[in-house]
Symmetry: C2
Subunit: 292 residues, 2 copies
């Protein structure tokens, strides 16, 4: 069993990006600039955005954090989006989700210029990914594919079972892995809450991508010996022994599943660090005008 | 075994559309108007476009056919697209594919205003479909889903195996059937040229959607008794006994598979007639401003 060390790969990629940025700057080009819009004070969002700002520093990017209180209006937020679209110094930006209930998230996402949509949530980027055109792939699916690539895991002709059909993980990672590409060329099965025989599908999988958000859902009896397990779950489970009061729990019963696998991602330290790393890669792509 | 009569359903839907159009016109609203751009004289394209024009008549739509010779330049075609985008009388239009090799098809598709893209090929519509937002769904996948709906075929929790991963059939029909919707909520497996054990996947399927373009590919030994078979294949096979010199051949060995199934679509007369019918539905939607 080989542990897929997402933290190590992410550090490596950030170092590669930092080297490319140094070269860019030496060539007289501008430093990539990522902006993040953070509304309110949700604990998870605060943490994610802080990590993104830190990752920008590690990569040599400029970063701008725009904060608004939770009572910001949709109109005010649309104004900010418009300014970011028009600001030539900003290469890419994200609006941290979730947004407060009175704001139509989809409306905000669709207002973002697809050329600056480094989260890859705009329908144009989603559609281009499905078609197989250059695009910004959303961060978690891109991170998963990059882990498979860097660990040299063969995907061609493999049966990949995706658990979960969310717009930010399940659907896009299924879409990526069925493409005529490497990594890719998988036979892909998407299972979800309406799948009655989910365990049977998992038992046949060469690769399982678990993105249900149900701690410990994938148990040893669901895993074929030698399978590759990618655990996207990051549920916060109360844990008084931690300073934060919680620990992150994956969708996989790691202790019992790990001995069976050829490769497995831990939680934390697997897919999580790759997600922010993909956002940095997308920002560099945006600055280099390599997508649009 | 019940034969899924696509011709009958398509006629029924066109009659429903015609009734709605009559009502619209009686209410003082404009008649829906579909335009088609046809480049060159490809036999298949000529036939398709002629069918589309005829379907417009049946539905009470206005139709406009814009013809150019195969030596039309990309720039000229982009001009036509621009005019159609700007013409307020045109509710929707299609550019018949394939286009001659010197024209970048994707560039033409992306120049079409997504609000008039009744073929549903623009990345915005592809992305919106994947996300589950209102959109123009491309005609063949929409026709397949409508057949399942009209025949009352339960899809929830069923295992649907899609053979083929084309951008116009395999990927979008997989995307539609995995959505939290009815029809939908299928566990979906997408198989393709890189799938080594395609027969095994088919044998487990409750629903098979065959869109490989390989005549007679799905044989009886690949079908679970009671399965639903949707045959999207329309390969032209030479046949001197036909006036046209060819007959249309599906991806399914109909003669031997049909006795095993609960439902099956014939070729011709199954999915084919539904495709043009979906285009009419999309045009009515476009005229009604119900998507955008």
């Amino acid at each position: 069993m080989e542990l897929i060390d997402g933290k190590k790969v992410a550090d490596q990629i950030k170092a590669e990006i930092a080297a490319e940025v140094t070269q860019r700057v030496a060539d007289g080009k501008k430093r990539p600039h990522l902006a993040a819009v953070l509304v309110g004070h949700d604990g998870g969002s605060e943490t994610y955005v802080a990590h993104k700002v830190k990752a920008c520093e590690q990569c040599g990017f400029d970063s701008t954090l725009i904060r608004r209180e939770a009572d910001v209006t949709e109109q005010e937020l649309l104004e900010i989006v418009k300014e970011l679209n028009e600001n030539p110094d900003i290469d890419g930006y994200i609006v941290q989700l979730p947004l407060p209930g009175h704001i139509d998230e989809q409306r905000i996402i669709e207002a973002i210029d697809p050329r600056k949509d480094v989260d890859g949530f705009h329908p144009v980027n989603v559609g281009r990914m499905s078609i197989g055109l250059p695009c910004f792939v959303s961060a978690t699916p891109a991170g998963i594919v990059e882990l498979l690539r860097r660990y040299g895991i063969e995907t061609r002709g493999k049966h990949c079972v995706v658990l979960g059909r969310s717009n930010i993980v399940g659907k896009p990672v299924a879409s990526l892995l069925m493409q005529k590409a490497a990594p890719g060329n998988c036979t892909v099965t998407v299972c979800h809450s309406a799948t009655p025989d989910l365990k049977d599908h998992c038992r046949r999988a060469d690769i399982i991508i678990a993105a249900l958000g149900q701690p410990g859902f994938v148990t040893a009896d669901m895993v074929k010996p030698g399978a590759v397990i990618i655990d996207v779950g990051t549920t916060r489970v109360p844990d008084p022994s931690k300073k934060s009061g919680f620990r992150l729990c994956g969708d996989v019963d790691f202790e019992n599943v790990a001995p069976l696998c050829s490769h497995i991602t831990p939680v934390p330290g697997g897919v999580g660090p790759m997600t922010i790393c993909s956002l940095m890669s997308n920002t560099l792509l945006a600055a280099s005008d390599k997508v649009y």
